[in-house]
């Protein structure tokens, strides 16, 4: 009788363990960490960073859309997400939070990939529809990210203040909003990414906002053009090229 009890006990325990094993999700994941930096440092909202000359600036709002996040493979691409809204409003309130950034995790398929690509902004296909065409809980269902005058989502919002005369008082507000299909850019990075069964791959997408505004000898003249939010503004036509190109070069990708 005791032997029978022991046998059934072992059987039940064995079954339980086998159940646990089979239920365990072994599919691999990709975690993308979006990080906003200014030069070499995490970018903390509302804290001074040196701009150019004697000017310091603070950023108060940073967000952007990322579209068609895709792993590139010789045997086929894998779409991780068609669109994501990346906002640093919460994460970048502290230095620790800024260092961590904003993360999103996606299920992935096992394989060896040789690159990653994504659009900076909302892809033309998705941008052809207004927010009312998306569910209200969809990232494109937010009307605050749509500009009816352009018939476009606002691809990125970069806002803040500048202390232009070095007296420690911010005296100039700047607002840079990008949008419309002509400002959409696709970033492709060639790098080996091995996705193994049951493992997580971490990829850092780093946006250097210092480079968004350009280098010392070729930077966007915020002091004279503090507001840019109209891709149809012929007076600022150059910015409709320069700003998205700067975003393109300001974004780097690191596979952990």
């Amino acid at each position: 009788m005791n032997k029978l009890k022991i046998f059934f006990s072992i059987l039940i325990v064995g079954l339980l363990f086998s159940c646990s094993d089979s239920d365990e999700d072994s599919s691999p994941t990709i975690t993308v960490n979006y990080k906003a930096v200014y030069g070499n440092n995490p970018l903390v909202l509302n804290e001074d960073v040196w701009f150019f000359n004697d000017e310091t600036m603070t950023f108060s709002k940073l967000n952007l859309f990322i579209s068609d996040l895709t792993l590139k493979g010789q045997n086929g691409d894998q779409l991780l997400s068609d669109v994501e809204f990346v906002t640093f409003e919460t994460s970048n309130r502290t230095e620790d939070g800024a260092a961590e950034g904003m993360s999103q995790t996606f299920d992935a398929e096992v394989g060896d990939y040789n690159g990653i690509s994504f659009g900076i902004g909302v892809s033309p296909v998705l941008n052809s529809l207004p927010p009312s065409e998306y569910d209200s809980d969809h990232v494109l269902g937010q009307f605050g990210a749509y500009w009816a005058a352009w018939n476009s989502f606002i691809f990125s919002k970069t806002e803040g203040m500048i202390d232009s005369d070095g007296d420690d008082e911010p005296d100039l507000a700047f607002v840079y909003h990008a949008g419309a299909d002509k400002m959409y850019r696709v970033k492709t990075v060639n790098t080996d990414i091995s996705v193994l069964d049951g493992e997580e791959v971490e990829i850092d997408v780093i946006i250097d906002y210092k480079r968004v505004f350009g280098e010392m000898d070729d930077h966007i003249d915020i002091l004279n053009n503090p507001t840019f939010h109209s891709p149809q503004d012929t007076a600022l036509a150059e910015l409709t090229q320069q700003l998205p190109e700067n975003f393109l070069s300001a974004i780097t990708v690191e596979v952990q």
Partner: protein, 368 residues
């Protein structure tokens, strides 16, 4: 043997007592009243977002009717003198026309009553400071607020459970079987349902949008400046960033330069910052909808501006300086809007007036 009889009596007594308590807790049996929930449809233009309802509180005809009764009934206040509608009058786009609202004890609050028009599209962060995560949650707050209805929910529940009309309304709305199942949570759900039908979609702006009418040239100029149409050759007034189409709000929080402070800690009313405890949120308040703005004076969270002209004058100066004034508000101050241009923007704002919702009997008081 005597001991056995004693135990028997105690047991019977306990059973009887238990049964009696259970009946008291359950209250009146309501199962003889029919429960047949029918969806309540709200017609919206195709350029509007979906009307959000949580899965555990779908819009039903009887839910709306219960919420309507609760909204207009002073039963929710401690002295039965005030209801939700006391501060949210239908004819004033569900505001009260006061700078700051006053509760049953005559104590004035520190903020203005917000319009409830199109409130159903606001998913979360309700109130001027965003402290409420849902309409269902928000609807419960004024009852126990000492400067509003100053009542307690246990007391309101007791009043509702003993009221024959409400027993029937709660049964029809939520299918409860006993009056003891009437709770504040169900009351909040019903009020939230009623608030979701307070929809304005038939302003002159909407009719122009639908090709049924035209703007005057003054209104069109106002529209172009409001939405920064650079092709118009008119100055960009930067209004649409916070008051975007079609709801004329982005649901976000801004410091619109109302107060001049040198330190973020100096705001008398810290607004969003009181909720998030993030100092850069101090002085930020929710951008309200501008639909029916003509009816909702005085303006701002503290009702400091009596007229739309005063509001435009404020924005045309770029607001008062402060460490976290919104860059777009500051930018608006550089546009040098002329008096005529400000009048054009106000003319456009008046195209957002719509009182057609008052034609829907479901939004009006059931007690008149």
């Amino acid at each position: 043997m005597n001991r056995l009889i004693l135990i028997l009596f105690i047991s019977i007594g306990a059973f009887a007592g238990c049964t009696s308590d259970e009946i008291d807790d359950k209250g009146v049996d309501l199962t003889n009243i029919s429960y047949d929930p029918q969806p309540y449809d709200v017609e919206l233009p195709d350029y509007f977002p979906d009307l959000y309802s949580p899965s555990d509180n779908p819009l039903t005809y009887d839910g709306v009717q219960l919420g309507r009764h609760l909204f207009y009934d002073p039963i929710l206040s401690a002295d039965s003198t005030m209801s939700c509608s006391s501060c949210h009058e239908p004819g004033l786009a569900f505001t009260d026309g006061l700078a700051t609202s006053t509760g049953i004890d005559g104590i004035a609050g520190r903020r203005s009553s917000m319009s409830l028009i199109n409130i159903g599209f606001f998913g979360n962060k309700l109130f001027w400071d965003g402290r409420s995560p849902s309409l269902e949650h928000q609807a419960l707050q004024p009852v126990e607020d000492p400067i509003e209805l100053h009542e307690t929910w246990p007391n309101v529940e007791r009043k509702l459970r003993s009221n024959e009309r409400y027993r029937e309304l709660f049964r029809k709305a939520f299918g409860i079987e006993y009056s003891g199942e009437i709770t504040k949570e169900l009351a909040g759900k019903a009020i939230a349902q009623f608030e979701r039908i307070l929809v304005s979609t038939n302003s002159r702006f909407d009719r122009e949008r639908q090709g049924k009418t035209f703007f005057t040239s003054e209104e069109q100029d106002g529209f172009d400046m409001f939405f920064d149409d650079s092709g118009s050759g008119l100055p960009e007034a930067e209004c649409g960033h916070c008051h975007n189409f079609p709801l004329f709000t982005t649901f976000e929080f801004f410091n619109n330069g109302l107060d001049s402070v040198s330190s973020l800690e100096d705001y008398e009313d810290k607004g969003l910052g009181e909720v998030t405890m993030y100092r850069f949120d101090n002085g930020k308040f929710k951008a309200p909808t501008l639909r029916n703005i003509e009816l909702t004076a005085p303006y701002m969270h503290d009702g400091r501006f009596e007229t739309l002209e005063e509001v435009l004058d404020h924005y045309a100066t770029g607001g008062h300086p402060s460490p976290n004034v919104d860059p777009l508000v500051a930018a608006a101050g550089t546009r040098n809007l002329s008096e005529g241009q400000k009048r054009s923007i106000i003319a456009f704002l008046r195209t957002l007036t719509d009182t057609s919702y008052l034609q829907n009997p479901d939004v009006l008081s059931p007690f008149n």
